[in-house]
């Protein structure tokens, strides 16, 4: 596609990348068809092609972001379904990430938006603070009736209260530690313990560590590693995202240079997409950060990818449970991992079914369900209906955001790794027993 940047604009490294992305697009429109917001809203402006055009115009003009551009870019889930569909190989993720940063730098949001985004950016990446906030939200839940139902502010508040689990799991934040392999050590990996996930569902990390150590892998939760930076990155808070990423890169680089690391394991796929992009995020940083970031990105693996390289075998008899595998967008589109989780679940003895419209996002999308509750709720309902139609007894997914979004419906939810751990001798995921599932039949 034609672009109109001046030579001076093109000297900006971010513009240079965006120009390359834009020039790859041939405006064929395939992406519109698989974009969740275009499917729901039926407006070119809420499609990837429309957003690409809006972003192109914004960047070319060099003007501050306008209210309209912000509206339509904010509605993008960053699910990256468009990237799976695009025949030309347009790197939409890098373009929209650039646009989000550009918006934050040039557009002043209304005060309540700034307050909410600021709050989310401060609280979610900090497990202790987030846990306190959830306890607060739990006490506020009975007051939900008082929240105004009209207007974005009320809807967002309601969405936040609804997200707070009725029963908060006991605090089990992973401390920096090394979990030795049982038996001879075959590999040594770092686990991204994450931020929000370990507050919402600490059992996921516990299952991951149990499963990996049982398979002869030493698992390190590195000192100084924390949030991957995705949360703030997707809000366009560039500096905060870089700081979070830098802390992780430093922590894991120390491990690589120390006892060595075969991989950095991520069990929340939303985070995995970002960690795998560290090389790009640090492309213009001075050394040694640039090479360190690239080295971390190369070693980053989703837990399901890593497990296919090990000899995973169940030790329990097949449970006879029909599992609907929900493909998290960050896994299927962001990282193009589609077969591994299903194959592992089948190896573990589950009957795996796939809901229709599997390519469409469930509406979680990081903080999207809090910032865009209307669209998120419609996508959630659509997803749950498609899952229900499969007749499955349980939902499995590889991302905490999706698990939170899909929980609370008819079916129990579990992280893929929890089910694999269960069948390999670990405890049943909380709230799921073979018996309870069978009784539901």
């Amino acid at each position: 596609m034609q672009t109109n940047f001046t030579p001076e604009q093109l000297r900006d490294p971010d513009i240079k990348v965006s120009n390359q992305v834009l020039r790859t697009c041939v405006h064929c429109g395939f992406c519109t068809a698989t974009c969740p917001t275009f499917v729901l809203l039926g407006d070119e402006l809420d499609s990837p092609r429309g957003r690409i055009y809006l972003i192109k115009d914004m960047l070319e003009s060099g003007r501050a972001a306008s209210e309209e551009v912000v509206l339509h870019v904010d509605r993008c889930l960053s699910c990256l379904s468009c990237m799976t569909t695009c025949p030309s190989g347009v790197h939409y993720m890098h373009l929209v990430d650039h646009a989000r940063t550009y918006i934050e730098n040039t557009y002043r949001r209304p005060w309540h938006e700034r307050a909410l985004r600021g709050l989310l950016a401060q609280v979610l990446p900090r497990p202790k603070l987030f846990r306190l906030a959830l306890i607060g939200a739990r006490f506020a839940r009975p007051l939900r009736g008082l929240v105004p139902r009209r207007g974005m502010f009320g809807k967002r508040l309601a969405a936040m209260l609804a997200m707070a689990p009725v029963k908060l799991p006991p605090s089990a934040i992973e401390r920096p530690a090394s979990h030795p392999a049982s038996g001879p050590r075959r590999q040594r990996v770092a686990l991204l313990a994450g931020c929000a996930q370990q507050v919402l569902d600490p059992a996921i990390n516990q299952a991951t560590i149990r499963l990996l150590t049982r398979l002869g892998v030493e698992v390190v939760v590195a000192e100084g590693a924390g949030c991957c930076g995705a949360l703030t990155h997707h809000m366009g808070h560039h500096a905060a995202a870089m700081a979070a990423a830098r802390a992780n890169i430093a922590a894991w680089s120390r491990e690589i240079e120390g006892e060595g690391l075969d991989a950095v394991i991520i069990n929340a796929s939303g985070c995995g997409t970002t960690v795998k992009d560290y090389g790009f995020m640090f492309r213009a940083e001075p050394e040694p950060w640039r090479s360190r970031a690239a080295r971390i990105a190369e070693r980053a693996l989703d837990i399901s990818e890593f497990l296919t390289r090990l000899d995973y075998r169940p030790s329990r008899p097949p449970p006879g449970i029909k599992v609907a595998y929900h493909a998290a967008c960050s896994l299927q589109h962001g990282q193009q991992i589609t077969a591994a989780p299903k194959a592992l679940l089948r190896t573990a003895g589950f009957a795996v079914v796939e809901p229709r419209e599997g390519h469409l996002c469930c509406g979680s999308a990081g903080t999207y369900n809090l910032l865009q509750p209307d669209i998120a709720t419609r996508l959630q309902a659509r997803k749950l209906a498609n899952i229900a139609a499969t007749g499955a007894e349980l939902i499995a997914a590889g991302n905490i955001g999706c698990l939170t979004q899909l929980a609370g419906g008819e079916l129990p939810v579990a992280h893929t790794v929890q089910l694999l751990d269960w069948m390999a001798g670990g405890p049943a995921p909380p709230g799921i027993t073979q018996k309870s599932v069978i009784t539901q039949k």
Binding site: C28, A33, V39, P87, S88
Partner: protein
């Protein structure tokens, strides 16, 4: 840049009033009027031509479409219908004084009748959306344009779209039973029905392929067919374009009609393989995708006979797909072919001429010669069995010189198609792209006949004007 008729000053002057009037006819967010938001609507799949419209309206029902058209008619405002905006001939290119009527929100399937094998759908349902809705019961909607994932059935009707599998099943026109249309005066009419062939004149035939110039189609009754027992694709790789072309001619001449017979040349093979990882032969100059269907015995028999024909042309390799996944990848590559060319060139013009299949080798050779003399690369991807060519001329839109050469080169290819006994457009429509070449195909009287049909439906020439017919006499006509 393509020449467009001068906007009517009175329409531009009345813009605020017109927009307020439109806002009263559709739901709140259904009128787009901010300059910034109109920009993404300035073009379609032919991004080289652009024009920001006066406004965009997104109606949700046939009645709303009727109200919008009535309003535009009363105010003498031009209208450009739009579906998914995937047209490669600029069929949805706006005009500065036109209201774009986007049908994307009309995306519901209204009725499916398996006993009588039809489905009633709104114009904004995607082509693949119809098949998706009936797939579980073993049915499908046959015409399959490469953009079937995204393109909408309303647009398919207006362009009489084809596709890879139309060799066996026919194009859109052969798979329609009825239409609900809205005239420019805002009248809602029903054409045809849910059964084969309507009484009286063949209005359905007239409206199919009318490029949004006669009416806006809002609902379509399509035939759905039961899927075959099975299908298998074969990849045949050859040492030269002309050899593959001669092989196509030999297959067709033998009396075999495969369900699909597709051609790709070297640049296309490489671009598509990078996207689809389908195992295309990267050492070949040209490749044919030949698909047969039916029972296993039928498939074996046909593939055996086709293999024997291919072997006469010294193929580099002949490979039959071994699984459903492999076949899916083969078609993913072919159907993503135009977009995939974006990997090797920032821009392309996609031609769409038809020729008698017996002239394939000669035409391919002459396109190759033109490519050399214009200094522009070409990727050839097309429905070879139908003789429907899609040479993609690669250029760089950031270089005006290169775009101009590409346009001229494209025109030369289409003139060649007409010269050898073919036609300017197989399935993409004339649109704005081939408008000025119409006199190559038709003489003045023939063109005037066609204009009279347009005038009968749309006396003021408000509907998708500036397309299909050369501009100059067109304006005279409207005046």
């Amino acid at each position: 840049m393509i020449e467009l008729p001068p906007p009517k000053p009175e329409t531009l002057a009345a813009r605020p009033r017109l927009i307020a009037g439109l806002r009263a006819l559709v739901p709140e967010d259904g009128v787009i009027a901010e300059a910034l938001c109109l920009k993404p609507y300035e073009t379609d799949g032919l991004a080289a031509y652009r024009q920001v419209p006066l406004a965009v309206v997104l109606p949700e029902t046939t009645e709303q479409v009727a109200a919008v058209l009535r309003f535009c008619h009363e105010n003498g405002v031009r209208v450009v219908p739009r579906g998914a905006g995937t047209s490669l001939s600029g069929g949805a290119l706006p005009l500065a004084d036109a209201v774009v009527v986007g049908l994307m929100r009309m995306n519901r399937i209204l009725d499916i009748n398996y006993a009588d094998r039809y489905a009633v759908v709104q114009a904004g349902v995607t082509n693949i959306g119809i098949t998706d809705a009936v797939r579980e019961r073993g049915f499908f909607y046959a015409p399959d344009p490469s953009s079937q994932l995204a393109c909408m059935i309303g647009g398919n009707v207006n362009m009489n779209s084809g596709g890879a599998h139309c060799l066996k099943y026919g194009v859109t026109a052969n798979n329609l039973l009825g239409l609900r249309i809205v005239t420019i005066a805002g009248e809602i009419l029903e054409i045809g029905g849910t059964h084969l062939d309507a009484a009286g004149y063949d209005w359905l035939g007239l409206l199919t392929g009318s490029e949004g110039q006669l009416a806006i189609v809002t609902e379509i009754t399509v035939r759905i067919l039961r899927g075959p027992e099975g299908a298998r694709a074969m990849l045949a790789a050859f040492r030269a374009n002309e050899v593959a072309g001669a092989c196509v001619d030999a297959i067709i001449a033998s009396g075999i009609i495969p369900v699909a017979l597709e051609f790709m040349d070297r640049p296309a093979i490489h671009a598509c393989e990078a996207f689809a990882h389908a195992g295309y032969p990267l050492d070949a100059e040209a490749m044919l995708i030949i698909e047969v269907e039916g029972s296993a015995a039928e498939q074996d028999d046909l593939l055996g006979r086709i293999r024997a024909i291919c072997e006469r042309f010294d193929p580099i390799s002949l490979k039959v797909s071994q699984s459903a996944e492999e076949s899916a990848a083969i078609w993913k590559g072919r159907k993503g072919a135009f977009g995939a060319v974006g990997r090797i060139s920032p821009d392309y013009l996609c031609m769409d001429g038809t020729i008698p299949t017996s002239r394939l080798p000669e035409v391919l050779r002459r396109i190759g010669e033109m490519s050399e003399s214009y200094g522009l690369k070409v990727a050839n991807i097309f429905h070879a069995g139908d003789g429907n060519l899609h040479p993609l001329i690669m250029f760089d839109a950031n270089d005006p010189e290169s775009f101009h050469s590409a346009e001229t080169f494209g025109a030369d290819i289409l003139k060649l198609c007409v010269e050898v006994g073919g036609c300017l457009t197989g399935e993409h429509g004339v649109g704005v792209e081939k408008r000025d070449l119409m006199p190559v195909q038709f003489n003045a009287r023939e063109l005037d006949q066609q204009r009279r049909i347009k005038t009968a439906f749309d006396p003021d020439w408000l509907l998708n004007t500036a397309k299909v017919f050369p501009l100059k006499p067109d304006i005279a006509h409207a005046a």
